[in-house]
């Protein structure tokens, strides 16, 4: 017998806003997700690369700084355009700064330039979308270089460690989200409340979306602000102001289509393991097919045209079979590493189509139990 049984009583309290009901579903889903020890472990593990990349940001900023500080010191003392190199200053103004100072500056600048180029080229060699970075190095404009390097680092961060973690976490988290509701016929409990099917989808979508943002958007923004704080040069703000927008857009490009596709798989079965299997198969199969096509063709090109690996450049519409590759291409366009929009356009269209079709199909799937 309860110690405070008051029987039935009416309720006349204030209700929450109608438009926040999806949040109730999202919060319930998040609580359920965080009960899983594996999800918690993977979320923690996904922050490890952030630490490593933080060190890279620190190194890069200090190399850039050593060059720019000397350049600005010389330029300020001579009031000469910042665009001119130390050699140009010496050539134009032979009566300028003391020779020893100029020699010292020149020596330091050349050294830092060499280190910088070595660092960037080493990092970029063989890496995807490094062309834009190498071009920025060759342009000699440190401001453009900083923006491109930061973009490239963040893009690599989102694409490689976080991309793999995204795949794994979605594969663990999303399959049970709707399939369990299908199995336990929970739809009627949801739909008998004042919420729509769209809000149901929004609530379910928010669970993986928020989780993925914790491993993509949040650490990338953290890295950005960490980089700002570590940089001894205030010009970093002017050079990289656009990056938070690019990071947000790139994270959304990854989060929304992947979560919708995974939710669609989840809605198609009562068994979450089937949904998980479908998820990993679609990603894995697409990546394997594209990888086979790429390596077969590049190997042929190397043999037939006698090219070195770094000279081979292979493009094919078959890359669209891999969701991973398609997302990566759109992200590289967002980060400005792919400057030709026509190269990214097919990927943008395919990703848009995947998103729209997955949403419509998902909507029909979650409506089905009510229509019967």
């Amino acid at each position: 017998m309860p110690i405070h049984d008051v029987g039935y009583r009416g309720w006349q309290g204030a209700t929450t806003s109608t438009w926040s009901r999806w949040w109730v579903i999202a919060m319930a889903g998040m609580r359920g997700a965080f009960k899983s020890r594996w999800i918690r472990r993977m979320l923690l593990a996904s922050w490890v690369p952030t630490i490593g990349l933080g060190v890279v940001f620190f190194m890069f900023e200090n190399i850039i700084m050593s060059d720019k500080a000397i350049r600005e010191w010389v330029v300020q003392s001579e009031d000469i355009s910042r665009q001119q190199s130390v050699a140009q200053i010496r050539q134009r103004r032979p009566m300028g700064p003391p020779r020893q100072l100029l020699e010292f500056a020149d020596e330091k600048t050349q050294a830092s330039q060499a280190i910088r180029e070595r660092f960037i080229k080493d990092a970029a060699s063989g890496a995807w979308n490094a062309d834009a970075v190498v071009a920025a190095v060759e342009s000699g404009n440190p401001n453009a270089l900083r923006n491109k390097v930061w973009c490239w680092l963040l893009m690599s961060f989102l694409r490689y460690p976080q991309g793999i973690m995204t795949l794994m976490i979605i594969g663990l988290l999303v399959p049970p989200l709707i399939s369990r509701d299908v199995r336990s016929r929970a739809f009627l409990l949801y739909y008998s409340r004042p919420i729509s099917r769209f809000e149901y989808i929004m609530g379910k979508l928010a669970v993986p979306a928020m989780t993925l943002m914790l491993i993509t958007l949040v650490p990338a923004l953290f890295l950005y602000f960490f980089g700002l704080l570590l940089s001894p040069d205030l010009s970093v703000i002017a050079d990289t102001w656009d990056l938070p927008i690019r990071i947000t857009a790139a994270a959304m490009v990854c989060v929304i289509p992947t979560c919708l596709v995974a939710l669609l798989f989840s809605s198609m079965t009562q068994e979450s393991r089937f949904a998980g299997f479908a998820w990993f198969t679609v990603w894995g199969l697409g990546a394997v097919v594209w990888s086979l096509i790429y390596h077969t063709n590049t190997t042929n090109m190397m043999i037939q045209q006698r090219l070195r690996p770094e000279e081979v450049h292979f493009e094919s519409p078959w890359s669209l079979v891999s969701i991973y590759s398609t997302i990566g291409r759109v992200q590289s366009w967002i980060f400005g590493l792919e400057t030709d929009v026509s190269n990214a356009l097919p990927s943008i269209i395919v990703l848009g189509l995947i998103t729209v079709v997955a949403f419509i199909w998902l909507y029909r799937r979650v409506s089905a139990p009510v229509r019967i």
Binding site: M1, T15, T18, S20, D181, S184, A186, V370, R371
Partner: protein, 337 residues
């Protein structure tokens, strides 16, 4: 996100509450009004020209399998669109104002449905939150309702481990946690033992008698309807066959009485025949007598006195719900199901 707003201000559902109150007064006799509702599922017609007026109180919705009861409930909840026809529930248009209807209706589904991974108290709290009750208040209210429903420490166990009866209780608690005006209960007593069945019916009766709620109970268990319903609607093949107050349906068209005799009934039967009174000897030994005026009663007493027959009872007959039901669905394909 848990921001609370007073009812009747920013919340569109709440804004409609006052409207609902006014319209409820206007349509107090008819909480549910349906006019010529037709609903097709592709080639199959689920509801055919359904017109209904359901008033306050408890209404039993009866019908054989496939009669269209579940479809009718979905139409009332605004979950499916009708092909033609119109109607209102609590003053709100079905189809267009489904959200407002669902805010004021508590629905207990027939299916064994639950939310995986939640305990009983979490599931009821979740239902309350979905209905717009702020989370802390939802928790308090859920405990209160679970006490009312007789769910004690089991509320802290996962719903997946519950027995069928316990799940029924949790579903009922989830249906009433937001204090709805109208309860739509689909097979509420299935899977319950007799004691729990009676307790649940008593709870429904309490809500309707003491808290001004109304209920529409869809069930196959006729004694449940007989026990608590004020009105009965019988559906068959998607059409409304019977819709009336239960006491009217129970009253036979011609007044009949059942006579129970101590000893042999044949003497009474013979005497009545000789007096020209229509009667029938039933298999249990009672005699069914048609008596529509005082003169007939006078004749019955005389026969008993003359033949030394001891009448132990003479009571008016009532149409049983089973007879009403069978009569209503007779001749339909559903009658064979």
């Amino acid at each position: 996100m848990d921001k609370s707003v007073p009812r009747g201000q920013n919340d569109p559902v709440s804004q409609q509450d006052s409207k609902a109150e006014m319209q409820k007064q206007e349509t107090d006799e008819h909480l549910i009004q349906l006019d010529n509702i037709v609903k097709d599922y592709r080639r199959m017609r689920a509801l055919e020209d359904v017109s209904l007026r359901i008033g306050s109180g408890i209404t039993g919705l009866l019908g054989p399998n496939g009669a269209g009861k579940s479809t009718l409930i979905k139409v009332l909840m605004g979950l499916v669109r009708v092909n033609s026809g119109s109607g209102t529930v609590l003053g709100f248009q079905i189809g267009r104002e489904g959200r407002q209807i669902r805010a004021l209706v508590g629905y207990m589904p027939e299916d064994d449905c639950y939310i995986t991974g939640m305990t009983g108290i979490e599931m009821v709290q979740f239902s309350a939150s979905l209905a717009g009750i702020p989370s802390i208040e939802a928790l308090r209210r859920s405990h209160e309702i679970l006490d009312f429903c007789g769910v004690h420490q089991e509320r802290y166990r996962s719903v997946e481990g519950y027995s069928t009866g316990m799940r029924q209780k949790i579903k009922f608690a989830a249906a009433i946690v937001h204090d709805p005006q109208l309860l739509i209960l689909d097979e509420p007593t299935s899977g319950l033992d007799p004691e729990e069945r009676q307790a649940l019916l008593n709870r429904v009766r309490t809500l309707c008698d003491n808290f001004n709620k109304s209920a529409l109970i869809s069930t196959h268990i006729l004694p449940d309807v007989q026990a608590i319903s004020d009105h009965v609607v019988i559906l068959a093949e998607g059409r409304v066959r019977v819709a009336d107050q239960l006491w009217k349906l129970n009253t036979p068209t011609a007044p009949q009485y059942v006579a129970t005799v101590m000893g042999d009934s044949s003497e009474l039967v013979e005497g009545l025949k000789q007096a020209g009174i229509e009667n029938e000897l039933m298999h249990n030994g009672t005699v069914l007598i048609r008596a529509d005026n005082d003169e007939t009663f006078h004749q019955i007493w005389q026969i008993c006195e003359q033949s030394q027959i001891v009448l132990s009872s003479l009571a008016p007959t009532r149409n049983s719900l089973e007879e009403i039901f069978m009569s209503a669905i007779r001749g339909t394909n559903n009658a064979h199901s």
